[in-house]
Symmetry: C3
Subunit: 439 residues, 3 copies
């Protein structure tokens, strides 16, 4: 069978785009099926409706066959589910009735500032129904009575999620979380699971026997991460040394780091290093959070986790509208995101706490790692990065801190450390660090 | 009997303005009487002349009946004590003699840069006498001989101060200190004790059984705080978790925070939070100190205390001159200051170390604390402040740190925490903090 | 006998300028002899060729009698060692042969951007030979064959260095290191040992029985400091509380501080304080290192040391060229450097951790340390520095931190502390600090 990375990431997004996902139901399930097909490691976890998860309760399962509004006089149909699943408020209860336009309008949501686009609206926890239209379409609705049809079901069922752990030599885990609950939107939905799946593929191939363990979870946002935490809290808190929530990683306008509450976890340092040297990088405080970092970093949990985006959710114009379509994402943007996460994984695997073994500076010349002729123009320029890295390899700084201290790109630090480890000059000091309670 | 807050703060300042205060003597005593009349809790403490207090000694008590200079030839009188008690250098020794203008001028102090105003000058610790005039008045003094009269007494007596403790459930104290030793100046003198007295009134009424204990002291500056420290050092050091020196709080030009030596005490964080969101707020390093924080924060004492002003002493033009009169202060300015201190007290009382009880984010919707419909425009806007506060309620951050982290006004944090506490979502974690040695 | 400081520092530089120094050999030895003549305390230490020192090995000893290239056709000689010892690549192996200009040019080094100056080039660890010329001189070399003569020897011998310890009441040491291995260059070579020698003279005279111990070492750069560390590592790590690498201290264009890796050692604070208030002061991160701080601060050693320069190596145009001659250095520049180091030594000697003995502010008036008359213009201005210093003398801040906190020049802090110590107000708290593990 072909593996996930045998196809372009854009092609995966196209394959998944039309599915009507929500936090429960067959759309989310089909999406999980898609990833599980490529990753047999993924295990499905189910939470039955009404299950208590921390302060929350799993809602009824929602499924929808069709929905539309039909102008009685002319028979014209509008806001057809079959045209766009954004036309229906997610979790709308079933209805089949007739009402006039004035009454109907109370249930219609639009974006006045973006009059050509359909908004994305949900109502998971209060029973109601509603339609979403572009402001322009709403303005054109003819007067009169309408047949209103929502052919949906709210029934006892399950919330589904999929996770896997690639076990490494160490129990300590690097954790990646992404969500699969939004309907037909490309960047704020499908880019996250697709890049995460590509990363899972990469680790399996590159590191069949990794040093660290790697945990991946694909779940519905908020209620999904709360459910997952409620079941796996103890092992997450024991094992995770760095976590990344991956979302909105498909455009190529910028790179964003949404920091943990205090911005000082190993994950924050890792992502800061991963973005080192990239143009248009932005960092946001936890006050500008908005995705599953809200749960993972909540005061009672406090996992060392931050969120990685290209253009951050809420910061790009197409966010949560029908315009977040296949035009917003592209292979270059997706690959840029993958590369950042790949470098972080490589960094963990090559040497988390590098320690130089010699006292004083090592003599690079005798190892052919250094120019032997010192003169003004070349004096140490060629080997400056190498020597800068060595200068901070005290076994206490993580590779990410070394990257941030030396202001080098993370990939350069990885390349240099590979050379230095091969030359026997640097070794991993992780065990001493972890016993010091540093991580 | 009417309480202190039954009158405007400006009216109290007017009642007290004409009294000739100094660090000892009947003027200070009358001023203390005035506040004790409203606050029977206040206890008078007396230090006899020549008592050793740390490195200092209580000076003789100074009282003055009259003083003036009289031009012999014309009988004209100048620099009359009866016109303004600023005309006499505080602690001038008695004299009754005749001298010519040249000799007299050696004893006359003026402000060349502010030629219409009389300066405020003191000489507590060296025996001398002197008169203060406006530069313009000095220029107009006719030539010839003058009769110089200072009808003052320097005798063994007492330095007086008043203090009280409102006992709370906890022995830990919030401490307010203000001074009562300057003669007829409005902002740099009377605003401090009047706002402090208003705060004392507020706490007595609002919190008859407070959580924390509250200590108030009205004393002469420098020698008074040194005397107070010398007697109460042990209990202050054991109990005070946050102290505020209150002075120059009557104008409405700005808000000032004079930081403790390292700017990192709970008091500093509290005042920073108390000023959050106010316009024209300024903070000053300890290098710009000048009031009783000099004693309370001295290296051998090191109380967690900072100073609160509107326009800081030394920073407004009328400071230490006859122009610091009733035109400088106004009810709006005084109320603004009161409000800052009131919010700080409310914050201590509502929850010093708030801790959210649920794991993950609480479901606000089921408690009617959250909008149930999520769409782009309103997504979390309405409840953003509430969620931001919850995000930092880990039981380790004080309410003041939460205010500073969320960049919300302190009053908003208080209001939100009140709602969250009522909803059973947040509790006080003070006991665990104090045992951790955090305060 | 006359002492070192009986002569101008420029005159010492002149005396030493012509010697052809390298990391081994008679030039370095003569230079050490010169300093030892003035300082009998200095002890010579020798490391034999092939001795292992950490990751390195002492190279063969290099000595040179003569070198030149001679145009066969005309008999003209160029790049004559006798004209400038920069003409020969340091550690060039002996050669006596004939080759044509094209072949010769492969062994000629120039500076294209600075065409009038001869570059300084070394090749200690790879056997080769080479000549250095100005670009202009190279351009004028006539075509044809050349006799190439390097009359040098590479033989088993020794690397020499000199060190001394001025023993104080405490074993804790202040450490000064400077290097003596560059040929005829004035600022980047001779300024370092000459200023260091002047400082040694100063300490011997001013503090015959110092509180701290003072260690001085004159050595060849890199291999010398590695050798020294390899022999004295244990006592350096046990005793040195602050170290300074002294180089390029002879011009008067700026003052530079090359920080330790994390910029937070006592040495960094001392040098920051020593430069307080000086114009044109610059600080550089460890990423811009380049001298023996590379060895002393390497991860396996991590001495608390930083580097002090006027214009930093690599930052001034004449660096590592024949233009770094006697025109670059001057007595004013050298004295400025000496003064900085002298102030640092004075600070260590007067009181490293000053602690004020009284509680509250001391009464300066009764000690004639304070104006007795308080009025607006002079209020505490005269004594502000004194009071600011007292405010931070808590026995935990070092004199250098107090200098940095109060933003006063170090010399002013020293003067004020002298007065306060004499007045019995301040004492040394070093012993309590060291047992607290603070240094």
């Amino acid at each position: 069978m072909k593996s996930f990375s045998d196809f372009s990431m854009v092609s995966h997004i196209k394959n998944l785009f039309d599915i009507c996902r929500s936090i429960t139901g067959n759309g989310a399930r089909k999406t999980l099926n898609y990833f599980e097909k490529f990753h047999p490691e993924l295990e499905r976890i189910k939470f039955a409706s009404f299950t208590k998860v921390f302060d929350w309760e799993i809602p009824l399962e929602w499924n929808i066959k069709d929905s539309y509004i039909e102008h009685i006089e002319t028979g014209q149909q509008f806001a057809k589910f079959s045209d766009s699943n954004l036309h229906i408020v997610s979790y709308s209860e079933p209805i089949n009735t007739i009402m006039d336009l004035e009454e109907l309008k109370k249930h219609i949501h639009t974006l006045e500032d973006q009059p050509k686009w359909i908004p994305y609206v949900t109502s998971y926890y209060r029973k109601q129904w509603g339609f979403c239209l572009s402001e322009e379409a709403k303005q054109k609705l003819p007067k009169g009575n309408y047949k209103v049809v929502v052919d949906s079901k709210l029934e006892k069922g399950f919330l589904d999620l999929s996770h896997c752990i690639l076990e490494g030599k160490l129990k300590k885990e690097i954790f990646f979380s992404t969500y699969i609950c939004h309907p037909s939107m490309a960047n704020n939905e499908l880019s996250g699971p697709v890049v995460t799946s590509q990363l899972l593929d990469y680790i399996k191939n590159k590191y069949p026997n990794p040093n660290f363990s790697y945990r991946f979870v694909f779940l519905p946002e908020t209620i999904g991460s709360i459910s997952y935490l409620s079941r796996y809290e103890d092992e997450l808190l024991s094992n995770v040394i760095s976590g990344f929530n991956v979302t909105c990683v498909g455009d190529d306008r910028s790179y964003s780091h949404v920091k943990s509450p205090y911005g000082n976890t190993l994950a924050d340092k890792a992502l800061e290093a991963g973005l080192s040297g990239l143009k248009n990088r932005k960092s946001y405080s936890f006050l500008e959070r908005g995705s599953d970092e809200r749960q993972y970093c909540s005061p009672g949990i406090n996992l060392p986790l931050c969120t990685f985006c290209r253009s951050k959710f809420g910061e790009y114009p197409e966010y949560h509208t029908s315009a977040d379509n296949l035009d917003v994402v592209n292979e270059k943007g997706l690959l840029g995101s993958f590369q950042v996460l790949k470098n972080i994984v490589d960094a963990f695997e090559i040497c988390l706490f590098p320690k130089v073994l010699v006292k004083g500076e090592p003599q690079l010349g005798k190892r052919n790692l250094y120019p032997n002729l010192s003169k003004k123009q070349n004096s140490r320029r060629d080997s400056q990065s190498r020597m800068d890295i060595i200068a901070f390899c005290n076994g206490k700084n993580s590779i990410f801190e070394i990257c941030n201290l030396t202001k080098l790109p993370l990939s350069a630090v990885i390349d240099e450390l590979e050379i230095l480890i091969k030359a026997g000059l640097v070794v991993e000091n992780f065990n001493n660090q972890s016993t010091n309670g540093l991580i």
